[in-house]
Amino acid sequence: MRSKPIILVLLVHLCLSFLYSSLATSPGSSDGFTINGRVKIPSMDVKGFGLPGKLSNVKVILNGGQRVTFLRADGFFSFHDVPAGTHLIEVDALGYFFSPVRVDVSARYPGKVQAALTENRRSLIELVLEPLREEQYYEIREPFSVMSLVKSPMGLMMGFMLVVVFLMPKLMENMDPEEMKRAQEEMRSQGVPSLANLLPGGAGRSS
């Protein structure tokens, strides 16, 4: 994981509940915090917005689907009204693998947060989420090569045959003529069929 200069600060601030005088009566939403962060995909910087369709469908998911938000054009996202505690943020971007991020929102010290990638336990000083790796969903089709043809079962069959046809006679030639004769005699006496014997027409003549 490359470390990149971090631009943005994770802000978790207490919502200004005192602005809403009536909120005092309903504690339900007054203790909410806001988590702000940014998703940074390297190719976004390199290619600009060359992949608009892909990146406009990036989702940021809090706590396994409890809340879902989307990225703004600059990659920022925020979750509002999040209660204090430990949360999990996941980024869903097709083609990229993001580690879920553990975010601790502290109630006692407003503004103090901790974030860490759960995959490699690397803690983040700022909530800038970057993919751990790109995901390639397809096998790369190897370009045609003679090797692949040779490696295929049929190629192997042919190769083996060629070896038998052309190399075996060579091997036999290199043998000592006397030994060769002995071997041939041995073969005849045992009646091992030669290649010609196996073929129709050849069988009758050799015997």
Binding site: S21, S29, R67, P83, L88, P100, Y138, L156, V164
Partner: protein, 986 residues
Amino acid sequence: MGMRMAIRVFLPLLLLLASAEHSFSLYEDQVGLMDWHQQYMGKVKHAVFHTQKTGRKRVVVSTEENVIASLDLRHGEIFWRHVLGTNDSVDGIDIALGKYVITLSSEGSVLRAWNLPDGKMVWESFLQGSKPSKSLLSVLINLKVDKDNVILVFSKGCLHALSSIDGEVLWEKDFSAESIEVQQIIQPSGSDIIYAVGFVGSSQFNAYEIDAKNGELLKHKSAAFPDGFYGEVLLVSSDMLVSLDATRSSLVTINFQNEEINFGKTYISDLVEESSRNAVILPSKLSGIFAIKVDTFSVFIRVTTERKLEVVDKINNAAAVSDALSFSEGQQAFAIVEHVDGKILLTVKLNHDWNGDLLKESIVMDHQRGLVHMVFINTYIRTDRSHGFRALIVMEDHSLLLLQQGAIVWSREESLASIVDVTTSELPVEKKGVSVAKVEQNLFEWLNGHILKLKGTLMLASLEDIATIQGMRLKSFEKSKMTRDHNGFRKLLIVLTRAGKLYALHTGDGRVVWSLLLSSLRKSGSCENPTGLGVYQWQVPHHHALDENPSILVVGRCGPNWDAPGVLSFVDAYIGKELDSLDLTHSVTQVIPLPFTDSVEQHLHLIIDADHHAHLYPRTSEAIGIFQNEFSNVYWYSVDADNGIIKGHDLKINCIGVADEYCFDSRDLWSIVFPSESEKIIETVTRKLNEVVHTQAKVIDGQDVMYKYISKNLLFVATVAPKASGEFRMVTPEESWLVVYLIDTVTGRILHRMTHHGSQGPVRAVFSENWVVYHYFNLRAHRYEMSVIEIYDQSRADNKDVLKLVFGKHNLTSPISLYSRPEVITKSQSYFFTHSVKTITVTSTAKGITSKQLLIGTVGDQVLALDKRYLDPRRSVNPTQAEKEEGVIPLTDSLPIIPQSYVTHALKVEGLRGIVTVPAKLESTTLAFAYGVDLFFTRMAPSRTYDSLTEDFSYALLLITIVALIAAIFVTWVLSERKELQEKWR
């Protein structure tokens, strides 16, 4: 010698080559060969047209599946689409500044702006408020502040004005202290004043006059209407509202712009003779006119200049009314769509002139689409510069259609975004004489195709050729035939949707073969709120009765409650015709397909009602006869998650007090009560009923045998600490735990219990053979985990001694009773898993021989195939040589996510809710269907297709090889002949 050596060398090489690749992986050009993907949105709730500017004409819609989408008005294709979170339902949409789509969602707390051309989110505002209320959204087009449109949102008891450029709050006005239920935000055109009107209590009407520029309260008026109000108010002209009184017997007009608020009361019976008390005001925003629905007909009422109400027309047919649309200088029109004998009649009328029809078109409509539920109109300029109208209509079956010039321009089957249940049906057998053969390619074409393919592999093909090859592969006639195939790849997927419509989809290409709007699941007088529960295979003709069509049982319920009476429908699976339907007198809580069939191959089903009676279907004496024989073998269980009780039941006698021989009383056999202060049931899973297990024995280390404990009656139960079951992750690891159980549902015996301390739900689990895999959250590590439990039968463990088997000293033939205490041992292991999981299922094959893969629906709406071998309790850090040979993978702390093993490859099944696997006839292959807002189907081979040639097998290469071999044989023959001759001459 040489031969042997060669075999020794080549065989492992061959095996190595065969096993090198991942078990599921795809080349990019194979997309669409075995899979198909369809995108939907759900039933449309709101629609906004964007057709003013030149360029692509669009309609932006929001749906009941929390989708917002921009559609091409010409073809109905999706330009862009966003699926919001499950509890982020859309309350309103509008267009601001001509380039932003504004959506209000999450009960009015989230306001977002999306860029209209590409769907990127521009800004997002979070609106705070204190009390739940109606959510209203309006974009003030007329009020321009520095070229900015002001967006008015009323939500959570607070009125917000926001800038549409950046979503900044301009001003706020809090009404929560006033305890007013704001009903409408009104902005009279051409003024800077807005009105917020609503009720306090049931009879006090309040109106607030607010400066739109700064939110200053200008005036507050209040008046009491002693009769009280019912329902909502509707604005009928710039200064007049209409509502119903509390008894729903009279219409109340409210005049709020004068110094005093005036009420006017008109009895509905004075307007409509045959009136009833069930009047409803239709929410269509018209001006000077409004519609009410009394009984079955719609009544249009005009407001005269003297503020009197007067009936202009009465429509007896089912009808839908659009909002008013201003189309040229000061003129407003609206559309009415009504059903007139089998056709639908679209009428566009001017607001102020009832008799001046701008448009009257009659369109033939498939009656399977049901009634018109909603209509949205839009105008365009015809070539002769007059105004034409197009209408977007939403039908009862959730389909979306665009009507223009008396024809349906396009239609979308949006019902498929809300699938409730899935089953499959075989296709008809190919018969002789059926003219399928003539379409099939002849040998020459077949060979030609393969030569082309060979050219492709040898990189000799031109671009044109490549296109032809791809086209040929995708449009293979084979895969979309309407007959059964040898491999069992072609089937019908029968899906039941929330609209109460049943579809048959072809597995080859995903097309709709037939669809049927079930009459039993349509709203009617006796059945107010029908909901579909499930589909079951009712009649599956066996080999000897192939001329009969299979049929499907659809089970539904007349309302949201458990005790609502049930409905049954029987549908022919080939032609999609409803054969029969039954309105049940009892409720439906459980449907148990029994493993018995009668003489016409109808499956016996037991339906359990809310009073724990069991009802047998089909209701024939033959079925009773079969059932009586198996009477004492029927057991089932029920889970009461609220009270933490699991009960086992069996049948007792015929129902007492009811003269119904198909009704049986049940009795409780056992019950397990979980302590409510420490455990709450969050998930229960059993094995799939139709799962096939090939072998019960598992060979370990090459010699040892373990017997899998295979029982159809095992139940997996997961409970968590009650504190941890509510809001997600609001507990410390010390106060949360997850307890999992394996329970025998016949005896109620707990076979296994395990506690995961510091863990919590949600739990997703899958049960297959003798193992269960479950996914949960580990709070200590703060990561998701997956665990596996395998259960083995220990009582038969000593049967592995061959001598004992030979001398008959084994206990294999001794009767197995569930009442004897089973000696089982369990093995378990846990691993980390990166993602949240929406659903887990497992592949299933015809004979159960092929190894299994888990199909995991991730939070990113993808489906990941994970080999079961990764979830094997025998994994260890350093497996022995024997274990390695067996395929035991060394232990790692987390499960691998290999991008190539995403079954959905680069696609997403948005809003994923379920995955169904069906075995093909070919043992190696399983069919997988994932559904949510989108549909995805694929064919997969968990251990590769070992029993058939793959799709990309090159026949041409095989032919060439054979030809070359034959040629070589002849050459060598001639050579050896010659050599022999020479030898003889010597």
